[in-house]
Amino acid sequence: MDLKPGSRLKSSVCDTELIVVKAPSGDVDITCGGAPMADPADAERNGEVAAGAAEGTALGKRYVNEDESLEVLCTKPGDGSLALGDTALSLKEAKPLPASD
């Protein structure tokens, strides 16, 4: 599916919800728990978290692909783990900025 900053995604196999921070153009095949994710309005719970894709997501954490062209933020945690195609997304290290307001 086409993603843009602000797009929301929901897992079809766990409670995970995401918001897209950054996305490459074109078709993005993002999965959670081994199953495709969908717009929360269309997402239906269907199936179980696949073995090997069950490391879970953590609230408020960011996940990125290898070249960081895709970045998502977890707004609701769940049991599935995230992947782009066949490659797992990795947790992005926080680089804290000083509080300015």
Partner: protein
């Protein structure tokens, strides 16, 4: 995207933490979420287009802000210091509204058509009590979250439009979720109608940093609150910092809990920051540059950069103390000439910014953002070779003397470096020979007398003679608005009249 997403995340992950008020006695994130939801239902029932507030900071502020986001109507904090006719004019423009207000505002606007004025105690007892329904806020990122009337230092106030996508992008781009330790507390002393007042609520909720509110700024109250509430973070505008430093020099003692002090919202005189470093030796200083139209901060000079600049023997590195630091990771900054073409590194021009948080839009007017997303800020500035941004002030304030562009900030920096001067403003006044002449108004430092001729000589020795003020006046104080913006327009008018 909706601001409620930020509060929902805080509430679902860290519901028991104190969000607003004293540790253990204030509202928790869960309670704030419940009240926002309860309030949203009543806002919807009221059938209004906007939620407005004419009051100082209190716990009603985050409730009304998030409640309006949930209800799907813009939140419009108005300046409670406006005159009665000004307030009536804006309140009528904002209607149909629910307006949470103080008693004075109730008397001023309570009779207006379409304005349902509710005083704060009634709002808290009748509108904000109860529990939240299922989360059903609108997630359209284009919806307007906040309308902020600009201070109008240069003319009629206009409403800057901040949509949910601008503000949510700003927060998730610059704040780490629950990045604050549980003992952290931030003191908010800027009023609700200032963009930093709005941003402080959103940033703190997402960072998990407890909000302590100071309704009306007073340096003694500010220092007391830091001490009694164990405040760790604070944001101040330059005029506030100057008064805090004065007060602390008088009373002595430190603020051991205060770890981070950020300043912005106007040009900080170098002597004030130097004195602040002396009275608050353990605090980390952060300089932030931003505009209402950019959802607050776009560039920061962090604590380590302050120290490095302060320690350095290299004049170029030392100069960074007067910079606004570097752009946030999600922000691009360009310096452009009058035709909109990029200028060479180190050259002054207009500051242009681009990023998801940048709105650049005013209600009922054409957007100033270019089709490829760049917003010309109307601030002058330059970037150095390492990407540090130097802000020179509003382009409208530039003095044009005999065809030469003179930035008032340069002259003010030199005036302020003179030991007899505590505060200074330079403005252009009409002049038959030069088009504009340079005039300056200065405030004498404590126990000092300003010798005008000597001060003119001093400026001439530091700058080109064209920049030497043709005229210098000494006054007891300069005109600032309550959020620390120098009212140059007033000085220009007064000086032009008294020629």
């Amino acid at each position: 995207m909706n601001l409620m997403m930020l509060l929902e995340m805080a509430s679902s992950g860290f519901g028991d933490r104190t969000a607003v008020g004293s540790q253990g006695r204030g509202l928790t994130y869960e309670q704030l979420f419940q009240r926002a939801g309860a309030t949203a239902m009543r806002f919807r029932e009221a059938g209004i287009d906007r939620v407005s507030m004419v009051d100082v900071s209190s716990e009603a502020l985050p409730i009304a802000l998030f409640g309006s986001a949930w209800a799907g109507v813009p939140f419009v904090p108005l300046n409670y210091r406006l005159t009665r006719p000004e307030l009536r004019h804006l309140a009528a423009e904002v209607a149909p509204s629910v307006t949470v207000c103080n008693d004075d505002a109730l008397a001023a606007i309570g009779d207006l058509d379409g304005v349902r004025a509710v005083v704060r105690p009634d709002f808290l007892a009748q509108w904000a009590e109860g529990s939240a329904p299922d989360s059903d806020w609108n997630v359209d990122p284009e919806e307007i979250a906040i309308l902020l009337y600009t201070s109008g230092t240069t003319g009629t106030p206009k409403a800057a439009v901040l949509r949910h996508r601008h503000l949510v992008s700003y927060i998730i781009g610059s704040v780490e979720f629950m990045g604050a330790a549980e003992d952290e507390a931030t003191l908010v002393s800027v009023p609700p109608y200032h963009v930093a007042g709005m941003a402080a609520i959103l940033s703190s909720v997402y960072a998990g940093r407890r909000i302590v509110q100071l309704p009306n700024f007073d340096p003694a109250d500010w220092v007391n609150l830091v001490r009694t509430e164990g405040v760790t973070h604070a944001m101040v505008v330059p005029t506030m910092l100057a008064r805090i430093v004065d007060h602390m020099e008088d009373i002595g003692g430190g603020l051991p809990t205060l770890r981070a002090l950020s300043y912005g919202g106007g040009k900080m005189p170098a002597p004030v920051i130097a004195r602040a470093l002396d009275v608050l030796p353990w605090a980390n200083f952060v300089n932030a540059y931003g505009l209402t139209e950019t959802s607050s901060t776009v560039a920061v000079l962090g604590p380590e950069e302050h120290r490095e600049a302060h320690r350095s023997d290299d004049p170029a590195v030392r100069a960074r103390l007067g910079s606004a630091g570097r752009p946030l990771p999600a922000i691009e900054v360009d310096i452009r000439d009058e035709e909109g073409n990029p200028v060479a590194t180190g050259t002054s021009g207009e500051i242009w910014v681009r990023g998801e948080q940048v709105s650049g839009e005013y209600l009922g007017r054409n957007s100033r953002v270019t089709p490829d997303g760049w917003f010309p800020t109307n601030d002058g500035g330059s970037l150095d070779g390492d990407g540090y941004l130097y802000v020179e002030g509003r382009i409208d304030d530039i003095i044009v003397r005999g065809g030469e562009n003179i930035s008032p900030g340069e002259i003010e920096d030199v005036l302020l470096s003179h030991p007899s001067v505590a505060d200074a403003a330079a403005v252009g006044i009409p002049d038959e020979q030069w088009g504009e002449a340079v005039a300056a108004v200065v405030v004498a430092a404590k126990g000092q007398v300003v010798d005008i001729a000597e001060l003119q000589e001093f400026v001439k020795s530091q700058m080109r003679s064209s920049r030497t003020p043709d005229r210098i006046e000494v006054r007891d104080e300069l005109p600032y608005n309550e959020t620390g913006k120098l009212l140059r327009r007033i000085l220009r008018e007064e000086l032009a009249e008294s020629r």
